[in-house]
Symmetry: C2
Subunit: 368 residues, 2 copies
């Protein structure tokens, strides 16, 4: 339900904001103190276009926190329970960041640019301050900064063809969650096969406003035969695909096990990170709630900005975090934090929605 947003210098514009305005962006959200397009046509029109064609996304708000220097690898590892020791240069690693209590404070994709240089491509919280505070406090020899990099995402089933038209066929060889440095008009750019959809595609890490705009235009031009359109992370597609959103599905301080991120907690490896003792205790004891899928009965719902209570056996046993009508599944689907007794798929529960209480069924993630 869009309301009005007053923008100012504080809600920073990206390299591409002028272009998305020309393309008729109809709503924004604010992410990392920056404008993130949230809709162009309807949520459903944007969805079908994304899954059938290809879209250009202004994700300049995916800010990079750069760690550089002799202790860069040590600092990166200190922040996450995922083992980064075996990562190679050119690899992208999804990695929850946890604090000393094991609580998630962000869930970036980490790009290993060199043995002593990393970019944390972050979700919506100031990891820059966290990393700087840690580095200073621990006395590490590392420079932490936010370079002015604005990623541009090309997402959708036709993304390879559009990217190949601009960068050449080399892009086709980039494997999933790997990146290469490719030239665009003589300017080297990090090009990763990644992005916040399950439709395939790339993220190009533009580090110069002029180059970024020229790249937008070149991709737009090259995309014409492929029905390219402007787009943005799509609520329907990302809930269907099981992508969790930090700040929506994962709240500050919840632990990775509650968020289903068990496989990114490599407690069996001899790695040093802040929340190790806390996570070992949590892993040993098990968690009492977890994010589960939910199919909610009834008419197509409107996305909610408030948590809807989930009821089971007459009491509150959880809450809906994100929910949407899926036109593909012809069902209301949701991510919900659910108490342990109600985890099995198929369990019947109820949801207190603004219009009244409706029945719902626990489901496995992803939905699609």
């Amino acid at each position: 339900m869009p309301v009005s947003l007053v923008t100012s210098r504080r809600t920073r514009r990206t390299f591409y904001t002028a272009r998305v305005e020309e393309q008729g962006v109809s709503a924004y959200t604010v992410y990392n103190h920056m404008l993130l397009p949230a809709a162009f046509r309807s949520l459903e029109d944007d969805y079908w276009h994304l899954v059938e064609h290809v879209q250009l996304w202004d994700v300049g708000c995916e800010r990079q926190v750069e760690l550089k220097g002799p202790d860069a690898a040590r600092l990166a590892q200190a922040m996450t329970p995922r083992d980064l020791g075996r990562a190679v240069v050119g690899q992208c690693l999804y990695a929850p960041l946890v604090d000393e209590g094991g609580g998630v404070i962000n869930d970036p994709v980490i790009l290993k640019l060199a043995e002593d240089r990393f970019w944390l491509s972050i979700a919506d919280s100031d990891v820059l301050l966290w990393a700087k505070g840690l580095a200073f406090g621990l006395g590490l020899d590392v420079t932490v900064r936010e370079p002015d990099v604005c990623p541009l995402a090309v997402q959708g089933p036709k993304a390879d063809d559009v990217m190949a038209a601009v960068f050449g066929d080399d892009v086709r060889a980039i494997r999933f969650f790997r990146f290469a440095v490719l030239e665009f008009r003589g300017h080297p750019l990090v090009v990763a096969r990644s992005g916040w959809s399950k439709q395939g595609g790339f993220e190009v890490y533009a580090d110069d406003a002029g180059v970024g705009l020229a790249l937008w235009d070149a991709l737009w031009e090259a995309g014409q035969p492929f029905n390219i359109g402007p787009g943005c992370p799509n609520l329907i597609e990302r809930i269907e695909g099981g992508l969790l959103s930090y700040g929506n599905d994962i709240l500050y301080g919840e632990n990775p096990y509650e968020c289903g991120l068990d496989k990114f907690c490599n407690l069996d490896r001899p790695i040093e990170f802040l929340g190790r003792a806390a996570l070992e205790k949590i892993a040993a004891e098990g968690v009492t709630r977890k994010i589960r899928g939910l199919r909610i009965d009834g008419d197509p719902l409107l996305p909610a900005a408030e948590p809807w209570p989930v009821l089971g056996a007459g009491r509150r046993i959880g809450e809906v975090r994100s929910a949407v009508w899926s036109p593909r599944l012809e069902a209301n689907i949701a991510n919900a934090m659910i108490g342990r007794d109600f985890w099995p798929a198929g369990t019947q529960v109820e949801v207190e929605m603004p219009g009244g209480v409706v029945t719902a069924t626990i489901a496995d993630l992803p939905f699609v």
Copy 2:
């Protein structure tokens, strides 16, 4: 220029969001991952109402970072060049926070709740992560957390009367930038004489959603004889009054001297804070740019979301950070970062605005 905002769980609602919606909020901004009302009627109508009557502001987005424990005072001092050593319990202190390079990372009001307990009432950046990172890295014995406190501001010349009607005449005795703990229906609340306007007033730090809503309603009721209205920080009033906005006027990493915050840098005191060496160097060398006032000629302008270049002697010598038409001064006024040669009040410069280049004059702050 409002555009649409898509809200979600990530753009958190405050204790009062339901009330501001009932009161017809016409636009929001997002601040500390939370909704901050940005307009009710027009900017100008809201302005006149604020300076003539009294307004209730939902500033729940002014999040509190609580430092508690034996090392709380040490951590608080480590973050700011302002001497906190002489502060007394019950005092509010405006204090820029700086990193190890002397760059501003936030400019909170610090409330000293006890010798070992502080609230940092923050501007728009995740000071929670910064403070936690430092505390962990430095091995300090302090608990850092964000309690769910949603400040409610009563601002305007009639604020004392409205507050006294709810809290009793004790509130009248609270001095500027001091707080008292007063009871509202048996619930103790921190009540400070402070707020982000120059019209006088209070901020009440509600720490419970139910109490907060009841307080909103009680103040609303008590305010009826005083023509109370819903309001929010007002761009006209705050630029007139010389209030700087972190993220708009003060950008991440700029130093306090560039931002005119010299008097909050107590380098002559034997205090220990992160950026001490950096600020000593900057203070000794002097800065080459500084925030200055600017009167911009021409028709009433529309607030800008982009920096407008300021030109002097044929070259770029600065940029406009915030600008607005002041109906009181019948002039366009602005905060601008300006190069040293052009600091004197009365200096003629030019501004590259969207509609063309216009003349402007350097002015002292505040305007009113």
